[in-house]
Amino acid sequence: MVVWVDLARVAVVVNMALLASLIFVWGRNYYRLRSKHTLGPLLFAVLLFGENALALYFYLLDPLLSVWFSSQVPAPAWQGMIALHVLESVALAVLALVTWD
């Protein structure tokens, strides 16, 4: 029996780690350059990080939602949700690769 909620949590943590690496590079570049072109990517990454942090909160900590996600959500719904999280992980990995090159 796969615990789907755990897979979703892992995918979200991976997204947050990738975004943290982008925030590091883009934050440093913004700090040095202070241009709107460097602020844009930084804000993008910070907001997307917030989105994933919120998802993790729902899955892990929210007193009502975390219980519901752990016990009431059927597998097919989870598979759909996880597909969204994993696609985001792949997208962020591509971005991190070119940014760190």
């Binding site: 590079v25 883009w26 570049n29 040095r32 350059l33 202070r34 241009s35 072109h37 460097t38 990517p41 070119v98 940014t99 760190w100 090159d101």
Partner: protein, 91 residues
């Protein structure tokens, strides 16, 4: 091209050194060794930055041997106002 310049020069980990390289070869063309010396960077690092810059048609080299000197590409010359705007941000 503007988007490429902004990304490669300001949104990547090595952006700042790439700007320094571009500024230095704008003064006069140099080879990777001279660039490493002048900018106090590791030769391999400079090579990597030059490869990235060349791949994006920002710099061109005079030939394929080790002594090849690098200079801003013809294409980047047409967008030099963008390059200057970027350089002004890292005086």
């Amino acid at each position: 091209m503007e988007a490429v310049l902004w990304y490669v020069l300001t949104s990547t980990r090595g952006g700042e050194n790439r700007i320094r390289i571009l500024r230095t070869i704008d003064e006069r063309p140099r080879n990777a060794n001279k660039l490493a010396e002048k900018l106090d960077l590791d030769y391999k690092t400079v090579r990597h930055h030059l490869d990235v810059l060349a791949e994006n048609d920002i710099v061109a080299d005079s030939g394929d041997d080790y002594g090849a000197v690098y200079l801003p590409s013809d294409r980047v010359r047409n967008y030099w106002d963008t390059v200057e705007e970027i350089m002004e941000t890292v005086e």
